[in-house]
């Protein structure tokens, strides 16, 4: 079974018009047979021959919908902060932040969490954010104390939520993440 191009459907099974000109059906058919060897060279000619299947195309539409920090929606989980660290060139993130920890006078990361009063208290949803290099430079703190605070937050972020009461885990993967912390609210309201 094959499908013919609708252009071929007019008349008695043969094309009646080509490029706007009215041409006698039999003459056109002879013309097409003569040119069949040139089908690759003549643009669009292949459409007049059986191509073996329906002529379809794939359509694509990008989708980008989010309940995160989206003021246009009624359900909106506001972004409380975006956290990301830009490490100096050539340093390994984990030893670097451990050095900052010692410099600040803490023995362990959990000791630092207990002492720090400006870490978010409640559980936050965390979601990766796409930051360019320049934006990362803007949000990455300059002071060592603030840098350590961000490192603690990243260490408290699991795969998808931040919880101050969980242990701090510092790995290179975690410390190089860029995440937004969102406050879940209003999700179940009518």
């Amino acid at each position: 079974m094959y499908f013919r191009d609708p252009l071929l459907a007019e008349g008695a099974g043969l094309p009646a018009r080509v490029a706007g000109a009215a041409i006698d059906s039999l003459r056109l058919w002879d013309w097409l047979i003569d040119l069949s060897g040139l089908s690759g060279a003549v643009k669009g000619l292949d459409r007049f021959f059986n191509s073996g299947g329906p002529m379809t195309r794939t359509r694509k539409e990008p989708v980008n919908r989010s309940l995160l920090d989206n003021v246009q929606l009624q359900i909106n989980w506001p972004c409380r902060m975006v956290v990301g660290l830009k490490f100096p060139k050539g340093v390994s993130p984990v030893p670097y932040v451990e050095g900052l920890l010692g410099e600040a006078g803490y023995e362990t990361p959990s000791g630092a969490v207990t002492a720090q009063s400006d870490l978010p208290d409640s559980i936050h949803y965390c979601h990766p954010v796409d930051l360019g290099r320049s934006k990362l430079s803007q949000i990455s703190p300059d002071s060592h104390a603030e840098f350590l605070r961000f490192a603690l937050i990243l260490g408290l972020c699991g795969p998808n939520y931040y919880d101050r009461n969980r242990p701090v885990i510092w790995t290179e993967g975690r410390l190089t993440r860029k995440v937004g912390l969102y406050l879940p609210r209003g999700f179940y309201e009518d």
């Binding site: 191009d5 539409e61 559980i123 879940p184 209003g186 179940y188």
Partner: protein, 473 residues
């Protein structure tokens, strides 16, 4: 079943290889409910039932349904002395004085005879007249046409009428040669035992009497686990398109009690599986259910009814088929956060993709907010799915014809109709969920019903949060 095999009564009457189904046969003697044996030719069905009646001393009748003549069964009718009614001339073959009746080759009789047998098996009546002496009604048949194996050929063995088959409390397959152990094969192939008197010496009657007494005690108590098991089996079997009628569910409970009574009142998992298998009558009409399905149903029902504490709760949770009921159960009476985690992970492992999405999306925010509802691992598992729904980034792709009007994504058009009827936050939640499914190429059979179920989950959580005094409620 080694212990049961060791105590086999049937071996004593020369019936070998029936150890596996012996508890069922004895249970049928205890309840006096109808029993149907299905098996290939020469497997000892008729011999077993005739021998049982002999050793138990019953007044027995053995009819071949394919040859049955109803005048022989009821006797020749004649008018009474004052011509006001009909009497039947009784012969040694008539049914009126029988205590046990074996209808052999029941699948080979004509439909009109099946109807008459129906009343005999179901009501102990013939031609509308009660036969009070009949206690045991047994039948035997070869596998019917629809259920015969490649090498079988039983022409004329037709599927039993479902209403008739449903009246047999137990439907059991009897073992064929190739499943017998070597010692049983040796005993069967020895011709010296033929015609020899049984040395049974009343052991079967004693065992049946003892089981009857135990059965009456169990029936009075009717332990809850039996009911839970029967109900769970019925729900799961019906979900697997193996229908058990309400009468059958009640029969299953009764059968479980009887088989347990035969086992001296001890609950045994293997016997429950055996009883469940023997209570499903579908083989009688050629639709024997898949053994693996029955085993799986048994396993779930057993765990749900016999487990204790956390496992019991978990099984009951996983047996809930509706998402909203699962969510409700999780919120209402989950024993602890670890059990909550198990409930979440096992749910996500067993649900279909679209159900996983709805379950995770509904539960994730509340599990973040309410500490202790689900453990950290459970929250992470929910979050893995929910994060892709909270922020949907992807692509819709579809095929359209090169000529003619551009067309919309066909699935998007379907879900748009559902969304058109929604408003406010409900619509926003549903949109996120639908776009997640569309970008992941997950299609929905019924978007309206799906959204309704998801919204039920949300409503359940909202009410619960309100009761907890949460601002989210």
């Amino acid at each position: 079943m080694e212990n049961l095999a060791a105590e086999s009564c049937l071996k004593k009457i020369g019936v070998y290889g029936y150890e596996q189904v012996e508890p069922i046969i004895l249970a049928a003697l205890v309840t006096e409910d109808p029993l149907l044996l299905i098996g290939k030719a020469g497997t000892g069905k008729t011999y077993l039932l005739n021998s049982l009646s002999e050793v138990l001393g019953f007044e027995h009748r053995h009819y071949n349904a394919s040859l049955i003549n109803f005048d022989e069964l009821v006797g020749f009718p004649y008018p009474n002395d004052d011509f006001t009614g009909i009497r039947y001339l009784q012969t040694p073959a008539t049914v009126w004085q029988a205590e046990s009746v074996l209808v052999d080759e029941i699948s080979r009789c004509k439909p009109e005879h099946q109807n008459r047998l129906f009343s005999l098996i179901h009501e102990r009546r013939i031609q509308g007249i009660s036969i009070p002496l009949v206690r045991y009604r047994w039948a035997a048949m070869n596998p019917c046409n629809a259920d015969q194996g490649a090498g079988d050929f039983y022409e004329g063995s037709l599927p039993l009428d479902q209403a008739l088959a449903d009246r047999f409390a137990f439907v059991i397959h009897v073992p064929d040669w190739d499943v017998l152990c070597e010692s049983d094969q040796c005993l069967i192939s020895d011709p010296r035992g033929e015609g020899v008197r049984s040395e049974e010496d009343g052991a079967i009657a004693e065992r049946v009497e003892a089981a009857k007494s135990c059965y009456q005690k169990l029936l009075k108590v009717f332990p809850r686990a039996f009911r839970d098991y029967a109900m769970t089996c019925a729900n799961l079997l019906n979900g697997a398109n193996i229908r058990l009628s309400p009468r059958r569910v009640r029969q299953l409970s009764k059968n479980l009690l009887a088989v347990t009574a035969v086992n001296g009142g001890e609950i045994d998992e293997r016997l429950f599986l055996l009883t469940l298998t023997a209570t499903i009558p579908h083989a009688a009409w050629g639709q024997e259910p898949d053994e693996s399905v029955v085993r799986s149903v048994h396993r779930s029902a057993w765990e749900a009814s016999m487990a204790h504490g956390r496992e019991k709760w978990l099984n009951a949770f996983l047996l809930e088929r509706k998402l909203s009921k699962r969510v409700c159960k999780l919120l209402a009476d989950c024993p602890d956060a670890d059990t909550g985690t198990l409930a979440v992970t096992r749910s996500l492992a067993s649900l279909a993709l679209e159900e996983q999405a709805a379950f995770a999306f509904a539960l994730y925010p509340v599990s973040l907010e309410m500490e202790g509802l689900v453990g950290k691992e459970g929250i992470n598992d929910l979050g893995k799915i929910a994060s892709g729904i909270l922020a949907v980034v992807g692509e819709l792709s579809w095929q359209e014809r090169r000529v003619g009007q551009p067309m919309d994504h066909p699935e998007l058009s379907r879900v748009s109709k559902t969304l058109a009827n929604l408003s406010g936050k409900r619509r926003e939640r549903a949109s996120q969920l639908f776009y997640h499914l569309l970008t992941n190429h997950i299609t929905l059979q019924n978007p309206d019903a799906y959204e309704e179920e998801f919204n039920q989950c949300i409503s359940v959580i909202r009410s619960w949060l309100k009761a907890q005094g949460s601002p989210q409620g």
